[in-house]
């Protein structure tokens, strides 16, 4: 067994899961059990693939083996699946976090009595199947196909509530994502095929030959690069970021896994993949057409952070933070240096763990306290210490403080910046550190150190730290809506607290044990053609 067929299995597991969920939709317990089982199975499959991607002789064996052809869509344009280290990181993150997210979803969807839960779980599984397709795609065309599948399968999740606002936001979501991908990415792919006759991902890119025999010239590379970068709207490079805040109307598990991990990571993953495996370092460096991306991504980091500073809605603030953090990955990749690529790969993992924790916390607050705005969060950490503790850890990871995963990616990003000599990137990272601290820490402070509204009358300075609430003490949040504003609540349901505790722990563990992520990142590094 060479393992090349495993990616197909990785795609099939959630797809089959989706069907089963649909079949057993009437029985919530079975349906949700299937979701969880599917996610566990998927992780099992992905873990089977991992050793192949980490193997020392990966580039000479697994990579050179014939790719798994799903089908030949058009003559000469097959849909292929292939194992690749960067995709491995992405698949691993998505599949492992899906387990926690499934648990979380159960708590959240039941806790908030959401409708259409079968559709929700089905689309979720389909989205994960698409994610696996993206992660293991063997050529840019396959990636595009699953990229679109992901857009479509997540649309019902964004529009889930069916309110006019949800539908409108979902329109923006789909409009921008499909608009950019059809309007820019697709023609870019077709043009790539037109110029090179080759759409396969390969280290060093596909353009070298065309450049050498002058079938394509530098400026054309530049135009194509632009089309790719903005065509991948999921990377939320400004000004194509509007869909991300719009998508926040979705139920929180969706925001958490999809809009912190799966969908946005599909975007930046594609960006990195295109840079490394379609354009290749040499083509971009020799033509000098990729440099603008550094400045655009840098501007995105800073501007999105500035916008985040002024958001009072928690999920919106997180969304703008995501916009900013995604551009960390983009800027790292656009440095076009091996260390930059490593930084990009690692930040995909690091940001995933941190941001999903933050979103889980936001959803936990919503479930337990029905609060969505930061200004309502005074003193909430005393009632929900686990939630807000996790939130604090996630925040530190965003700022890049040890011992959290964010530190490691910042480490590599700065290394890459020095390697290439872009002082601009250094300045951006410093500024962004400041801004991240500026918009995350006030939330943590409010939650833990500000007296909750009803306690202001008899706040005592020295006993204001509150008790560590019992995570089991919940379940009354819905019966007495009249008291919600008075904070008569404890922690969120157990599955939620469990999930967010796990991701927060993951954020810290990734700092101490980054070996897998680093190993895969180094594998990318090893595959690059020697200069």
């Amino acid at each position: 067994m060479t393992g090349t067929e495993l990616p197909l299995l990785a795609m099939a597991v959630p797809a089959v899961g989706a069907i089963l969920i649909g079949v057993f939709g009437r029985w919530p317990n079975i349906r949700e059990l299937i979701t969880v089982l599917t996610s566990v199975t998927l992780l099992g499959v992905v873990l089977q693939i991992l050793p192949l991607a980490l193997a020392d002789d990966f580039w000479s064996t697994t990579w050179t083996a014939e790719p798994l052809v799903l089908l030949e869509m058009l003559p000469g344009i097959p849909l292929t699946l292939k194992i690749e280290p960067l995709g491995m990181i992405y698949a691993l993150i998505a599949s492992s976090l899906w387990i926690l997210n499934s648990l979380y979803s159960v708590g959240y969807m039941r806790g908030n009595k959401e409708k259409h839960q079968t559709r929700f779980y089905m689309c979720f599984a389909l989205a994960i199947a698409s994610v696996m397709g993206i992660a293991f795609s063997g050529n840019i065309f396959t990636l595009f196909v699953f990229y679109e599948a992901l857009s479509v399968s997540t649309y019902p999740l964004v529009a889930h509530k069916g309110t006019p606002e949800a539908v409108r936001s979902a329109r923006v979501y789909l409009g921008i994502l499909v608009g950019t991908s059809v309007g820019l990415l697709l023609p870019a792919i077709i043009a790539t095929y037109y110029f090179t006759g080759n759409l396969d991902f390969q280290p060093g890119g596909v353009f070298q030959e065309a450049l050498a025999n002058e079938r394509i010239v530098g400026p054309a590379i530049g135009v194509l690069f632009f089309m790719y970068m903005y065509g991948i709207g999921k990377a939320a490079l400004m000004p194509m970021h509007k869909w991300l805040p719009a998508a926040m109307v979705a139920p929180t598990p969706v925001s958490a896994l999809l809009h912190a991990v799966a969908v946005v990571k599909a975007g930046v993953f594609s960006v990195v993949k295109v840079i490394i495996y379609i354009f290749g370092t040499t083509s971009l460096v020799s033509t000098g057409q990729g440099e603008w991306l550094i400045y655009v991504a840098g501007a995105t980091i800073v501007i999105a952070s500035c916008i985040a500073l002024f958001q009072d809605n928690l999920k919106r603030r997180l969304a703008y933070s995501t916009v900013s953090q995604l551009s960390y990955i983009t800027i790292a990749a656009s440095l076009l240096s091996p260390l930059g690529y490593m930084a990009a790969a690692i930040h995909i993992a690091a940001h995933a763990f941190g941001k999903i924790t933050l979103f889980f916390a936001a959803g936990s607050i919503y479930t337990a306290a029905h609060k969505t705005n930061i200004s309502q969060l005074d003193g909430i950490g005393r009632k929900m210490p686990w939630t807000m503790g996790a939130f604090a850890i996630g925040s530190l990871s965003m700022i890049g403080v040890p011992p959290t995963a964010g530190f490691i990616s910042k480490w590599y990003l700065l290394s890459g910046a020095w390697e290439t000599g872009y002082t601009f990137v250094i300045v951006v990272v410093l500024l962004s550190t400041l801004l991240n601290a500026g918009y995350f820490l006030p939330i943590v402070w409010r939650a833990f150190f500000r007296a909750p509204p009803e306690e202001t009358h008899h706040a005592s300075m020295s006993h204001a730290d509150g008790n560590f609430g019992d995570p089991h003490d919940h379940g009354h949040g819905h019966k007495d809506h009249g008291h919600d504003d008075h904070g008569d609540h404890g922690e969120a349901p157990l599955p939620i607290v469990f999930a967010l505790t796990c991701t927060a722990a993951g954020t810290v563990l990734l700092f101490f044990f980054p070996d897998i992520a680093l190993g895969l990142a180094e594998q990318i590094y090893r595959g690059l053609p020697l200069p």
Binding site: M73, L74, F144, V182, G183, P187, I190
Partner: protein, 502 residues
């Protein structure tokens, strides 16, 4: 017993012709439908066999002389890869829509006219098949009239549901007749110059003309034909007959028309522009491709916009069809292999996609009593399979990957790039985005709206409707996933057209 294999081309026309005539004697009840199904089914089988024969023989074309008259005197039926493919589409869609028609026709047309309906129905299909198979220019006109007149009648039969079908039919009749007479005039002028009605002969004679490019008769013929064909294939802005006709026709008729009628118009354009006038004249000597491209581009943009404005799902799809014709015309106007192949493949892809969608709307009308957007609201809960088909078909219209529509777009964009027509690339992709908008109007209504009135109690469509709907939708997905057959056939057919063989 006649030799089926030897007389295949003739049988493809003769069987439905006779079948159509005989249908008037089938009386009431289920019989007319059963007969029609039998006839169209047999015809479809014949076209399949035709295709198989052609592919097996490896010959560029199969020629059949009716009554064994030499072709320059008599009528020649000629089947090459292109029209075998179109025949397959017409007969296939004809058969499937016939299967579908039973419940829908029961519902929409008075019981005492069913035998008439099916007779006209079969004859319409016959006309379309005939246009496609014949190699004789005048025969084209004759069959065109047959198909046109029958279609007028079919549309008018929508009056039982909505009186406006009559005016729509009249409108089509007037404009269609103008188009047909323009075509007749064009053919006439051509005969004056060449002295023949056989297409291949005509081409050869024209090529022999020393002053072809400046010959005024040829030019006038060209102009008349182009305008006439544009009307027939509903190229923007000469599409004025189409939206109302599609909207008010009986459900099955809308599907049949959308899938086949305009496509046969396009096929005629292929034959005349590529086959008779030749690529050199049509696209290099005359700058007609620029005009066609302009019309197509405007059509893509404006009829898509118009589609977005519609509040009736059927007129929405009708306007969308005008836009899709724009893609097809734009493709062959490029006159390069990818473009023409895109055009041909889109004839097929659009036929199955749009056919499926119209059928699904028919099912909606059958259960809910109308096809307004308000009827569709929240319907996905009540009629999940129908709505699912509509949604999948919609994705095909947008050109989402893994649907047939994407394949067409791939070829078209590649063709446009090959000709350096970057503007067309933009238009095609912009059209996709507009398609996204109007398709999403349907999807939002179906999946995220709250049902009212009859929609709230609607049941899933009957199986006899669902199966045909899903056959077409499944085809549109299958040929999006594995487009090797359609893609290669289209590419080869395109090579044939560009090579100049009629």
């Amino acid at each position: 017993m006649i030799d089926i294999q030897a007389n295949l081309p003739a049988l493809i026309v003769v069987i439905p012709l006779l079948g159509g005539v005989l249908a008037t004697f089938t009386g009431r009840g289920i019989l007319p439908w059963a007969w029609a199904s039998l006839v169209t089914g047999a015809t479809f089988a014949l076209t399949l066999r035709m295709m198989a024969t052609l592919l097996q023989s490896g010959a560029p074309y199969i020629s059949y002389e009716l009554g064994n008259w030499p072709r320059w005197w008599g009528i020649e039926y000629r089947v090459d890869l292109l029209n075998a493919f179109i025949l397959l589409v017409v007969a296939g869609v004809g058969f499937i829509t016939t299967l579908y028609a039973r419940e829908s026709v029961n519902d929409e047309i008075a019981k005492d006219r069913h035998h008439v309906f099916y007779a006209v129905w079969i004859l319409a299909i016959t006309g379309l098949l005939g246009i496609t198979i014949t190699g004789d220019a005048f025969n084209v006109y004759v069959l065109l009239e047959i198909s046109s007149l029958t279609v007028y009648a079919l549309i008018a039969m929508g009056k039982d549901r909505d009186r406006r079908a009559l005016t729509a039919s009249l409108r089509y009749l007037i404009l269609g007749s103008v188009g047909a007479s323009f075509i007749l005039l064009g053919i006439g002028y051509l005969m004056m110059v060449t002295g023949t009605l056989n297409m291949e002969d005509m081409h050869n004679q024209l090529m022999r003309l020393a002053n072809l490019d400046t010959n005024r008769t040829v030019l006038v013929a060209f102009a008349f034909l182009l305008v006439g064909l544009s009307i027939k294939m509903a190229l923007y802005p000469l599409h004025m007959w189409l939206p109302k006709a599609y909207t008010y026709a009986p459900s099955a008729v809308s599907a049949l028309l959308a899938a086949t009628a305009t496509k046969v118009g396009v096929y005629m354009a292929f034959r005349f522009l590529f086959g008779i006038f030749g690529v050199g004249f049509s696209f290099y000597a005359m700058p007609s491709h620029l005009i066609l491209l302009a019309m197509a581009s405007l059509g893509i943009v404006f009829s898509s916009l118009a589609a977005i404005r519609q509040n009736n799902a059927k007129s929405l799809l009708a306007y969308s069809s005008v836009g899709q014709i724009g893609y097809i015309v734009a493709g062959f106007s490029l006159a390069n292999p990818d473009g023409v192949a895109g055009s041909i493949v889109h004839i097929f892809n659009h036929a199955v996609t749009k056919g499926g969608m119209f059928l699904a709307l028919g099912a909606v009308a059958y259960r809910v009593g109308g096809t307004d957007i308000s009827h569709l609201r929240g319907l996905a809960k009540r009629m999940p399979l129908t709505c699912g088909a509509l949604a999948l078909g919609g994705l095909g219209l947008i050109g989402m990957p893994l649907t047939a529509g994407f394949i067409s777009k791939w070829y078209l964009v590649k063709g446009a790039m090959g000709s350096g027509m970057w503007g067309l690339v933009v238009v095609v992709l912009f059209g996709s985005l507009l398609a996204l908008v109007y398709v999403w109007k349907l999807i939002e209504a179906m999946y995220f709206g709250e049902p009212t009135g009859r929609s709230a109690e609607a049941k899933e469509a009957p199986l006899s409707m669902l199966i045909p709907i899903w056959i077409l939708v499944a085809l549109s997905i299958y040929f999006g996933v594995d487009a090797t057959f359609t893609g290669e056939t289209a590419t080869r057919a395109a090579a044939g057209l560009l090579g100049g063989t009629p």
